[in-house]
């Protein structure tokens, strides 16, 4: 009896770790992020094209590389479950638009900079892995940028970017849940505000 119990326990533990570890191909995940950053730098930042074209290319890269549906759900936290399907779609769209606007503006700050990749770190969340990189700065220590990557089948998507220990997903989540909690308009007010910000 005792033995069986131990065996079940052991196999449960083993299965748990096996599930989290084996599911992600670390090498491919890193290659994926390297490609995304290289595309961004060569095809957008350093490309000799109009700003409108840059914005268009950036939106495309952003939508291909990031799993905004997944991130949006995480960001809305506990409010995701109480949201109506319409609110969910509207939120994801507004969040996507605001992110594209923010990042395409910020993108040019990356001119002349490069990512140096430093391998991967396993994640406890299923099908996910961290790809580590640093960006040398003009002064002082290089900035740490960690990419949280999720694998589905043989497809990879970025689900979070952690810059100097600050996770963009957690920051947005903390901000939006605080907003919903403090605002009588709730999720609808949040969606409206996000839409206004992304114009």
């Amino acid at each position: 009896m005792k033995k069986t119990f131990l065996m079940i326990l052991a196999s449960a533990l083993f299965m748990h770790t096996a599930q989290a570890q084996a599911a992600v191909d670390a090498q491919k995940a890193e290659t994926f992020v390297v490609q995304v950053t290289e595309n961004g730098i060569t095809d957008i930042i350093n490309a000799n094209i109009s700003q409108a074209e840059k914005d268009k290319r950036f939106a495309k890269l952003f939508n291909n590389a990031l799993d905004l549906d997944f991130i949006g759900q995480f960001v809305l936290g506990r409010y995701w479950r109480t949201a109506t399907p319409q609110q969910r779609t509207d939120f994801i769209d507004a969040y996507r638009a605001l992110n594209i606007k923010t990042w395409s503006q910020r993108f040019d700050e990356f001119k002349g900079k490069e990512f140096i990749f430093k391998g991967t770190t396993p994640s406890k969340s299923a099908n996910q892995i961290f790809v580590n990189s640093v960006v040398p700065m003009e002064q002082g220590e290089p900035a740490k940028v960690v990419w949280r990557v999720k694998q589905t089948g043989d497809k990879f998507k970025i689900v979070d970017i952690i810059i100097e220990n600050v996770s963009l997903a957690i920051t947005a989540r903390n901000e939006y849940t605080a907003y919903i909690k403090n605002n009588p308009g709730g999720i609808d007010a949040l969606i409206k505000d996000l839409q206004r910000k992304s114009k």
Partner: protein
């Protein structure tokens, strides 16, 4: 000035001791759950600081940006950073990083002389980059709890541990001791230093600040989240294996997030 520093120290220590009794959650959980005991006060003080920044600090930083070139600003910030080398040397020592402590002393000696009062980082060129360590990272390493999130007047986001560290850090400024014997000069030098370093720091974070502000719907909450997450990196010495990423994994798996993740996965 001295009295003021002492006062801040005492006040912060008082808060620190009460804080360590009342907060049982780890700093890592705080960064995620955003425990904000003094949110009412904090939001009010944040608003005050915001106005102060809008009418005083930001215009000064913008003016500074207008009248200087990036080259000059780099010289200024390198010189200010050089004044922190004695602080880094001390704290590297307190953290048992003897080699880094030596490097900090070496850097201070070389950069203060060959680097023209610290305006040029000669030592970095020789393969001795800056080894930052302040009292906050030392106290963190000694497992002193961070305490609740507090917005300080003018200084902005802080915690009791960060506030104590800030006061201790400032006492290791060589300018503080070089002018110690002449009260009149001392005050002038220290106030000027505070203003120059404040304006220079504000200028250096201008773009990130503007981005965060223009894209957030609750600037206070966004700032708090980023501040607390960034602080979470300093781990306690007997807790070294638990790196921030592992903790973050743990966060992702918390309570209802687990369910959300499962729902998300099973869709």
């Amino acid at each position: 000035m001295q009295k003021k520093v002492l006062f801040v120290c005492m006040l912060s220590f008082m808060m620190l001791t009460t804080a360590s009794c009342t907060t049982s959650r780890s700093a890592i959980t705080d960064a995620h759950d955003q425990t904000d005991t003094f949110e009412g006060y904090n939001r009010a003080m944040f608003k005050f600081n915001y106005e102060f920044d809008k009418y005083i600090l930001k215009p000064l930083a913008e003016g500074y940006r207008d009248i200087t070139t990036p080259y000059i600003r780099r010289r200024v910030s390198t010189a200010i950073a050089n004044l922190k080398e004695p602080l880094y040397a001390t704290n590297n020592l307190l953290q048992g990083e003897f080699k880094n402590s030596g490097i900090s002393i070496f850097r201070f000696a070389i950069n203060s002389t060959l680097g023209l009062v610290g305006m040029y980082d000669v030592a970095e060129g020789w393969g001795f980059p800056r080894k930052q360590a302040g009292f906050d990272s030392t106290l963190a390493k000694w497992c002193v709890k961070d305490g609740p999130y507090i917005i300080l007047p003018i200084f902005g986001p802080s915690t009791p541990r960060a506030a104590v560290s800030m006061a201790l850090d400032s006492a290791f400024n060589p300018l503080y001791w070089a002018t110690y014997n002449d009260a009149n000069v001392h005050d002038k030098v220290m106030y000027s230093y505070a203003i120059v370093s404040g304006v220079a720091t504000r200028e250096s974070v201008m773009d990130v600040w503007n981005d965060l502000e223009s894209n957030s719907v609750d600037f206070y909450a966004a700032m708090r989240s980023a501040y607390l997450q960034n602080r979470g990196q300093n781990g306690c010495y007997n807790n070294n294996q638990e790196n921030t990423q592992a903790a973050y994994d743990f966060d992702f798996g918390l309570e209802d997030e687990d369910e959300i993740y499962n729902e998300m996965e099973n869709k």
